[in-house]
Amino acid sequence: MTKMLRGAIVAAALASCIPFVGAQAEVTELKIMAPAAPGGGWDQTARSMQHVLQTDKLVSNVQVLNVPGAGGTIGLAQFVNASKGDPHALIVGGYVMVGAILTNKSPVTLDQVTPIARLTGEFEAIAVPANSPLKSMADLVAALKADPAKVSWAGGSAGGTDHIAAGLILKAIGGDPKKLNYIAFSGGGESLASILGGKVTAGISSLSEFDAQAKAGKLRILGVSSAQRLPDAPDVPTFKESGVDVEIQNWRMVAAAPGITPEQKKELSDLVEKMAKSKAWTDMLKQKGWADTYLAGDAFEKQLAADITSTAAVLKEIGLVQ
């Protein structure tokens, strides 16, 4: 095994010696920051990028740096301060960061980085235990309209995507988001256990968390937060189909350092686009079960701004941000 490791290191070293010929000759090395501990979604995104960029020989030397803490805001602050003007630095981030910046009153915001592209995303789903009296989204809406406090939701940490999605749903049906009875859990396992055990009325999380349980008949999925029905759950209606006007995606993106020139930004954008369109990347997404929601340029920046505005509004209404 150590031999194998050594072999891998030698191979990597050799690969970095091969002179690279191509359009991106300028980008020979990249540092990607994953503002989270190893193993999580952002870390896996950063490492998948590293893998694809290196195996497709788009960039010969890619390093991933983990800076965990506080919903990514610690890594973000370090990135903004240390990488200013560095054309070889990238940071992975996502929708969770938008909320964390607001609730943590982070001194650094996403305005201070140079957004490159949205890469992937997951959609939210609402699940109830198989024996729950709630059979459809309409039943849940009725229960929420009767008394929102009596509907307890299990999901991830306060101010995260799950919490925001639940707040948006209550708001969309005309309820008061302040009355949302949201129970935060620190890990997917604990919150899933409370749903399976019937301790809460409903659970809200990304679809992949519920998928296996739903296939085994232990959970019923009432709706998903995408615009169209999802290939993984073709029988589940979207929130919009059920008359709840909420569409939300827990996206992950990649951004560059502040203060880089427009040429450098274009170079990085081209590189990321090339990666996102490669077969290796598509295979990686399929293997990880991530949806390809690639979006770049002005369209992405517009979407990002819209997400920040709507998130700030709903967090204020839930009462998490003053």
Partner: protein
């Protein structure tokens, strides 16, 4: 027959020479990272995931299992010899284990930890293979109110078990509870006592606090005592291995520790720390020579070590049967499963039986391998203590700092390590017990979250806390722990045995 047939098939998979090599590599690596404070199995497996991507799924999962169990072993070695708990679940081991090591009984302490881990790991793995589906149904039925009752039980037993004076113990506990308030509150998303320092938003890391209080605090007090400290550390006194009495005193704690660790580990919010606290308290209560507790009682090593290994196997119950990752390592293993296109969940046993049974079988193999590797090394490990004191403590300082910085390269983290080290020194100087500080930091936030969840679900009705039979049973046990000694006195007219000092 089905289960045993499947298990035999699994053993065949795990016993293939290449898979044995993977298991060997895993346990070695796991032991190494377990010894280093701060760097644990979760981080190691996460860093290995991209490398193992191209390897055969069975082989890499077997390696992960080896890392997982190996980490547990390594943690106890550092706790016993260096008083530097490498993992939060081996904090309790440091209490008696290090005392034993200083009295020249490091060999038996390491041996009882290794054999106890083996016994517990084996029983718990059998439990995992045979009764996982039943256990998981019970574990899932635990609601927040039941967990809160479990925390109350832990608080009452623990505060009675540590330290010579209840007030001093409670003072230490409250320091820990206060530290537990630091950081973002999970339920409201608001920052508490973080003074605008972003690094404090995630709260105080348990291993940082434990390493600082135990290792740095002790180094400071040894340095402060200077030449006046004439406590000689004898690396070996008597047999390096366990004698007959050690065996006799270890058996029951191993078994009891296993039966505390496995079910609590299987609970989605149980964890590996609580069973070690409960086991320590229980052994202290049951020990025939309670005055040895605090001065190196072998029961205080045997029980908690068995408990933490059984809990490690317990964590795999919800992971394999339901796909619920309930610890950091389990979450990473789940990512490992998904990397090979498998979805752990209710269907995993049906869709990938060879792999699941291969994994369970490889846990057996990892356990045996750890025992074979570790027992002969005991004699070598204890020689560490023969190092002259200035070198030894210098080494401990380097080691503690490297471990902490390795896990989180941040100046604030380093500062916390030093400040808590000073706190550890002051507590020692004025004879306050140290363990309750760490216990408070671990249990405080857990108890708070569970209480608030229970109350939120019931829309503020406090009666929900007393409506479940499980919770009521746990409260009854807590009352027994609290008032038991008094009853004992009233009935027998004799004072209940109370343990000696704790460092």
């Amino acid at each position: 027959m089905d289960t045993f047939g499947a298990l035999a098939q699994g053993l065949m998979v795990a016993l293939q020479p290449m898979n044995l090599v993977f298991a060997f590599f895993g346990v070695m690596l796991g032991t190494a990272v377990g010894v280093l404070p701060g760097i644990g199995p979760a981080l190691t497996v996460a860093l290995l995931l991209p490398i193992t991507f191209k390897l055969d799924p069975a082989g890499s999962l077997i390696m992960f299992a080896g890392i997982y169990y190996g980490g547990m072993y390594g943690g106890s070695t550092a706790s016993i010899l260096l008083n530097t708990p490498g993992e939060s679940s081996s904090i309790v081991t440091a209490l008696e284990g290090n005392k034993m090591a200083r009295a020249g009984r490091g060999g038996p302490a390491l041996a009882t930890a290794a054999i106890g881990s083996f016994v517990a790991g084996t029983i718990a793995t059998i439990g995992l293979a045979l009764i996982a589906p039943t256990v998981v149904d019970i574990a899932i039925s635990f609601g927040p109110e039941d967990y809160f009752a479990l925390m109350i039980l832990a608080f009452t037993t623990v505060s009675a078990a540590f330290g010579s004076s209840v007030t001093r113990g409670l003072t230490s506990l409250f320091i820990g509870l206060s530290l537990g308030l630091v950081g973002i509150d999970l339920q409201s998303g608001q920052a508490r006592v973080s003074f605008g320092v972003p690094d404090l938003l995630d709260g105080v890391e348990v291993t940082t606090l434990a390493v600082a209080l135990f290792a740095i605090g002790e180094t400071l007090s040894v340095a402060a005592a200077g030449s006046r400290a004439e406590e000689v550390i004898e690396p070996v006194k008597g047999s390096v291995f366990m004698n007959k009495e050690d065996w006799k005193r270890s058996w029951w704690p191993w078994i009891r520790g296993t039966f505390l660790g496995f079910p609590i580990g299987a609970m989605p919010a149980g964890g590996a720390e609580i069973p070690t606290f409960l086991s320590y308290a229980l052994e202290k209560r049951l020990c025939k020579k309670p005055d040895e507790f605090g001065n190196g009682a072998i029961e205080g090593v045997a029980g908690p070590e068995a408990a933490n290994n059984a809990a490690a196997a317990g964590v795999l119950v919800p992971l394999l049967t339901l796909g619920l990752p309930t610890s950091a390592t389990a979450a990473i293993m789940l990512a490992g499963f998904q990397q090979y296109g498998m979805n752990p969940g209710p269907l995993l046993f049906a869709t990938n039986p060879d792999l699941v049974w291969g994994l369970i079988a490889s846990l057996f193999i990892a356990n045996i391998m750890l025992l074979i590797l570790n027992l002969p090394l005991v004699g070598m490990w204890v020689r560490l203590l023969a190092i002259p004191r200035p070198w030894l403590y210098g080494g401990i300082l380097v080691f503690a700092t490297l471990g902490t910085l390795g896990a989180n390269p941040s100046l604030v983290e380093l500062g916390m390590l030093l400040i808590f080290g000073l706190l550890g020194y002051v507590l020692r100087r004025y004879d306050y017990p140290i363990a309750p500080v760490v216990v408070g930091l671990i249990l405080g936030p857990l108890a708070e979250q569970q209480l608030r969840r229970a109350l939120a679900i019931s829309v503020g009705d406090p009666l929900v806390l007393f409506q479940s039979p499980v919770a009521l049973t746990l409260y009854a046990l807590a009352a027994l722990a609290l008032f038991g000694p008094l009853l004992f006195f009233l009935i027998t007219g004799r004072k209940a045995p109370v343990g000696g000092d704790e460092d």
